[in-house]
């Protein structure tokens, strides 16, 4: 199977057609804009509409205030309760859609296989099960709050709009497992952040039991993120012929601001010939690579 990193007929760059590119460059001198101004002027309508616009949606009213009074969440009243309901709805929708994203990733694994240091089916199935587990926990929590778990809250809608591209990448049969994992990494980063904030919000509101539930989900998500990062590091390292561990070491150095990190590329081959080769990704098995030049 052909890899996206195999050189091919990509025509998007100007270097593909140097003669016409030269003619195109004349355009910059030929242009006299029909109106004066800058890019900032194009933002004016957005500002104008934003001043008039109401919110894109609002939080549905609690289904049952009686339910709220019965639960551990009775400390929550008024605005605090709707803020929490909005964010719980966001996580619920994200986890539920996350389950569908991981189904797409599983399909990619079934087609493309994995690589050394890449995901196993069992790991992906575990994440898929975690997403459903979190969805169910949130479903119950929202019900306990007297809210409606079938409602799409404003934050859920914003998160869905923001992450629509992830689904496009993963559901596209032309993307491979690595590219799909690049998309899921975005979801996992967001997920980690959001669970952390949700747990903090619950703790700050004096809801220890709820905070503990969210901490549990956060731990799962931390594990997911660690895995996804490792898989991607291994994929990239394997593609350019370095060990995953070397790449990871460099990334850690970069993250901690260490001066030992190379300036040009975080995936440069480390000094010395004792590099242990890792298997190439299955899907890139046919790609021939040049041997990297030996350092003097």
């Amino acid at each position: 199977m052909k890899e996206s990193t195999t050189p091919g007929a990509n025509r998007s760059g100007m270097a593909v057609s140097p003669l016409m590119a030269r003619e195109m460059l004349e355009v910059t001198n030929l242009t006299t804009p029909s109106a004066r101004g800058t890019a900032a002027d194009a933002l004016a309508p957005r500002i104008e509409y934003a001043r008039r616009a109401g919110p894109a949606a609002t939080v549905p009213p609690p289904a049952s205030l009686k339910e709220l009074a019965k639960t551990a969440l009775k400390a929550l009243r008024g605005h605090k309760a709707t803020v929490l309901a909005d964010k719980l709805g966001e996580r619920l929708a994200f986890e539920r859609s996350g389950a569908r994203l991981y189904e797409g990733i599983l399909a990619k694994l079934d087609v493309h296989g994995t690589w050394r240091g890449g995901p196993s089916r069992a790991q992906l199935e575990r994440i898929h099960a975690d997403e459903l587990k979190h969805f169910l926990m949130l479903h119950q929590t929202i019900q306990e709050m007297g809210s409606d778990p079938t409602a799409v809250t404003p934050s859920a809608n914003v998160a869905a709009t923001a992450s629509a591209g992830l689904l496009t990448v993963i559901s596209d049969p032309r993307t491979n497992l690595r590219e799909s994992l690049e998309a899921i990494a975005i979801a996992e980063l967001v997920d980690n952040d959001c669970w952390e904030r949700l747990a903090a919000l619950a703790r700050a509101s004096g809801m220890k039991e709820l905070a503990a539930r969210f901490d549990g989900a956060l731990q799962d998500e931390q594990q997911h993120l660690t895995w996804v990062r490792r898989w991607l590091a291994a994929a990239l390292a394997s593609a350019v012929g370095v060990t995953a561990s070397a790449e990871e070491k460099v990334r850690t150095q970069l993250a901690s601001g260490s001066r030992a990190a190379p300036r040009r590329s975080p995936i440069a081959r480390p000094r010395g010939g004792g590099v242990k080769r890792v298997a190439r990704p299955v899907a890139s098995a046919k790609v021939r690579r040049k041997k990297p030049a030996r350092r003097r």
Binding site: G54, A57, A99, L132, F135, T150, L167, S171
Partner: protein, 403 residues
């Protein structure tokens, strides 16, 4: 209260003006708005789209009408723009498609119940059961692709159930053509109904043809290709209900009357404070168009428009849930099939029916509408709610086929 169609003059054409800012109004809220507001926006976009389509077709064969058609068409274009631009950007193409099917079910159900001609009413019920099935298939896609519940948009007004299976709806063109009404004998409402539903279905066809390739998922792309094909069949079916012997100006006048009827229905039913004035304004615009075209018709054709236009508009469309009616039709008429212009029980379809051969060919490599909904039933909050309660491993496709 019914509107006096031939007396109300509306807004004169030269006073029908817009600005670019008006054409891009603040959109409605997809989550807060009543589902029937979305239904009306989708319907009226379809009606205006058809007005423009008709006008271009008329201009191709009526030299003398070209300038006046162009004048009116510009206003219809801007009416359509303003309406279509009411859709919010956070409403995805699939979500809007769910709205299109809700239109096709609830508006067609209203039309079917008010249609005075028994044959035409049966045709509307026949088509409605097919769109009913499309809603089920798109809801399954929405759940399985995105993990989302279609009912969040449909708001429990419309059942999400299989209808006449989409895979069984594929027919040879000859079985999509129906008998038209007789222009001299038909009730005016029959004429308006046929134009209205044709317009709505045509826009549905065009919309699916536009958004189908925007999906990355191959099953979604296949499903849109399949359902767009049925919508094309529906345009053939409903389009054939209008008498082809009507003169161009007669058809034009009827189209304007249909637009008046549709806007009047929307204005009567609308609860959204920002949209109601839009329907009222455009009702006045359409009355202006109607009277301009009526004058043209009477001058050129030397006939009285009152021959076929009613004095008063019929009772407005019922923008409400027709659940009981739809369920009744589902129980009684699910197994109807088309043989030529007739609708018969599937047991009466001849083995040599051209539709059988056509359908077998189209489905020979698999049916997207069956695949997308394999084992699917609507559950509040998606089928994942059940999976979460009784966890099970997500198997491979091979394992799924074995089970």
């Amino acid at each position: 209260m019914s509107l006096e169609l031939l007396k109300e003059k509306g807004t004169p054409l030269d006073q029908q003006r817009f600005t670019w800012q008006e054409l891009a109004p603040e959109p409605y809220s997809k989550l807060n708005v009543d589902a029937f507001t979305r239904v009306r926006v989708i319907l009226m976009n379809g009606v205006e789209s058809d007005a423009v389509r008709f006008s271009h077709a008329a201009a191709r064969v009526n030299r003398g009408l070209v300038p006046v058609l162009a004048n009116l068409r510009r206003v219809e274009q801007h009416q359509q723009t303003l309406i279509n631009w009411l859709h919010p950007a956070d409403q995805t193409p699939l979500e809007t498609a769910l709205g299109f099917e809700q239109v096709a079910i609830e508006v067609t159900a209203s039309v079917a119940q008010h249609e005075p001609d028994a044959y035409l009413a049966q045709v509307y019920r026949f088509g409605m059961l097919e769109d009913f099935d499309h809603l089920y298939r798109f809801s399954a896609l929405y759940d399985r692709l995105e993990g989302k519940d279609a009912n969040a948009l449909l708001q429990s007004y419309t059942d999400i159930l299989p209808g006449r299976p989409t895979s069984a709806e594929h027919r040879a063109p000859v079985d999509d053509v129906r008998q038209s009404y007789d222009r001299k004998l038909a009730h005016p409402l029959s004429k308006l109904n046929a134009l209205l539903i044709t317009a709505a279905e045509h826009q549905t066809r065009d919309y699916y043809m536009t958004i189908g390739p925007m999906f990355a998922d191959p099953l979604a792309r296949q499903l849109y290709a399949e359902i767009a094909s049925i919508e094309e069949q529906h345009v053939t079916q409903y389009g054939s209900l209008s008498d082809p012997d009507e003169r161009w100006l007669e058809k034009w006048l009827l189209h304007e009357a249909m637009e008046v009827y549709a806007y009047h229905s929307c204005a009567e039913a609308e609860t959204h404070p920002r949209l109601k004035p839009i329907w009222e304004r455009f009702l006045d615009y359409e009355l202006g168009h109607l009277h301009l075209v009526r004058r043209l018709f009477e001058d050129i054709e030397r006939r009285d428009a009152a021959e076929f236009l009613p004095d008063r508009l019929p009772a407005p469309l019922d923008f409400k849930s027709h659940r009981d009616f739809v369920r009744r039709v589902l129980t009684r008429e699910l197994d109807l099939r088309a043989v030529g212009t007739e609708l018969v029980d599937k047991a009466e379809v001849p083995r040599a029916s051209p539709s059988n051969a056509y359908r077998e060919q189209m489905n020979s490599a698999g049916s997207p509408s069956e695949t997308v909904a394999a084992g699917w039933r609507w559950m509040p909050g998606t089928e994942l709610t059940l999976d979460a309660v009784t966890p099970k491993r997500f198997g491979t496709v091979k394992e799924g086929l074995r089970s």
